[in-house]
Symmetry: C2
Subunit: 426 residues, 2 copies
Amino acid sequence: MTICIFGAGYVGLPLAYAFSKFYRVYCFDINKNRISKLKKGIDLNNQFGKRKLVNKNLFFIDNLKDIKECNYYIITVPTPIKKNNTPDLSYLESSSKTVSKIIKPGSVVIYESTTYPGCTEEICIPILEKESDLKYNKDFFVGYSPERINPGDKIHTLNNIVKVVGSNNRETTEKIKRLYNKICKKVHIVSSIKIAETSKIIENVQRDVNIALINELSVLFHKLNIPTQKVLEAASTKWNFHYYKPGLVGGHCIGVDPYYLSYKAQTVNYFPQLILAGRRFNESMGRYIAVQSLKLLTKKKINLQKARIAILGFAFKENINDFRNTKVLDIIKELENWKLNIKIFDSFVPPEEVKNIHNLKIYKFKEIKKFKFDLIIIAVAHKEFKKKITFYNNYFKNKRKKIMVDVKNLFEEEEYKKNKYAFFLL
Amino acid sequence: MTICIFGAGYVGLPLAYAFSKFYRVYCFDINKNRISKLKKGIDLNNQFGKRKLVNKNLFFIDNLKDIKECNYYIITVPTPIKKNNTPDLSYLESSSKTVSKIIKPGSVVIYESTTYPGCTEEICIPILEKESDLKYNKDFFVGYSPERINPGDKIHTLNNIVKVVGSNNRETTEKIKRLYNKICKKVHIVSSIKIAETSKIIENVQRDVNIALINELSVLFHKLNIPTQKVLEAASTKWNFHYYKPGLVGGHCIGVDPYYLSYKAQTVNYFPQLILAGRRFNESMGRYIAVQSLKLLTKKKINLQKARIAILGFAFKENINDFRNTKVLDIIKELENWKLNIKIFDSFVPPEEVKNIHNLKIYKFKEIKKFKFDLIIIAVAHKEFKKKITFYNNYFKNKRKKIMVDVKNLFEEEEYKKNKYAFFLL
């Protein structure tokens, strides 16, 4: 038994590692730098400690020629959106094309990448058939098993989550179930690829809509002078209330999947109301936070042209280095529109990459002591920012005018008041 | 210690009963019929078994003159909406007026009725002050403690839920906390009436939006030929997915509260996007179900003018007699627009009341055996409808054409197929 995994990221790497305890595994990625690091046992995503990945059954490769014939091919490549918010299937297509050149009769191809209902059958399988000259469901077989990796979450790991598995062929489903049962305690079988695809995408759509609702409530409560956090705490004492925090919703799942589902909806002339309502609201939060910041500065009689602003956090989520589709960028862009003087601090994200992609300078958090600010915006709840409030007091140019915009509720209302801050809590 | 409770409905009655174990309680309602039944120990809402309510500490009254001077007044009157979907505060206002005439210095008035943030302070307290000639927070005191009664739910009862309690005065809050602690294990204190009001209303708004999202997904998946129920089951195996069923959302809480919150929002020029998006979608479901029914009949070549349709269920929720704001009415209205021949079956709701209010004839479910139908619509999941599928087979005029619209997923797709139904599952 040999398995080839396409993609050595958040999804592919833990999968490759888990399977390598039982089978020979090839883990392929087009990112040569990532592969060369992984070969040395270094995972910059911090999912694995140093050298844990060095294993005689696990081969990291970046050259297609090195992919050997395998029984199972598992696709874990990213499914991002294009600039116009439509699905970018290029990774899915190119990995399918690669697989099509090497599959042999009897091979099973499993997709784990999140996508819209029908994508595997309408886009991927035709590519597999075309180049391989093999027949789907006769010569080779295809399944879908949505990934449920939650970056940074040590509790819900591959081993103890329920893994959904589906194909359009009972025998193949059984095969894939047995495969995943080696590494996951529980497998939930569904009767088609489409059901499996759909079950995944709605998880993130639901999350997006729920956070958007809380964001809307937070915006409304700010106008009504009602403390959102206290309201959420009280509501959460009800058995069926879902506790979500308001905030920026980016990343490559929640911020992306609603666009995938609505793309598919529109192909059957259905124009989504709720699926995209969450996205519409969440996309507006960065700008809203920027405007609240400017309002506070002006209220405290600080000249906007001279104001110095620190933004704490650039990653799309706390304690990770991933900044794909980060919505902190929306705050930054809005402030840059006003030509304000800002500095961004984040010790997790790689500064060179941020420089290359966004042309932004990222400072390590420890460098903050070199500067004085009029306003600090806490945008991400990295553990490095969780200090006592006196720590923050030090950075204000004029210590009688301390202004903080706290998107992540790092401190409570009472603490800001006690320390005489002008503040905005989302 | 004497307590007077205004409203002897779903909220007031359990409260009166619970307090009567410790204190003398007057339970007042303007519905004379309800009070005369309660005096005999009969609760037509079925929250209490026969004669359980006969208690020497508990006085049911329908005459204002019988209300004696009390230490605590608890308002549990309904807060419905008017025909134009704006708050109908008449019960809240009239009960406040009544209380204002009897409160004495030291009295505490507690509101439990769900309402928008600020309503207690802006509407109720001024009424209490005006007529009583007493000063709020000096002579008398006001608190808010949202009801969390879930009709038909035997698990989450007054005794074992967390009760939120708030007032704008620490001493009053402590007093109210001690009062409720007699009958509820856990009390959660908040620091203002407004926070307490808001915490309640968002619970129902969240529920409404979540069901609306699932309704939208169900509508979309029907177009994409994806079985909604299977998708929801698979998604629910994820640790943080919220399992909601699609369906009609009526009743006097979830179907009403979003309008209350959006009413308040508009007073500060905030036009809600998500708060009402759920309502907009949910309000459309009755018509959607009616149209799916007509489509099925037509597809099966049944002449619509001659079609006989059974609708099972009229209550707003399973196994209760409450039909306030039932959305089954939307299905009925749409079918009546088409001048179709329908019969409604529901053994829970009181037929005379439905006749008076809606001019609709309600049959007991056992009467169904007198009729033959072309289409059965299961609209409510009353336990009386949970039979074997062969039970339903009997009612079809033409047994080769069995057509069922199953809003509540009483049977699975496979069972309908096996029994050769033309069917629609929400």
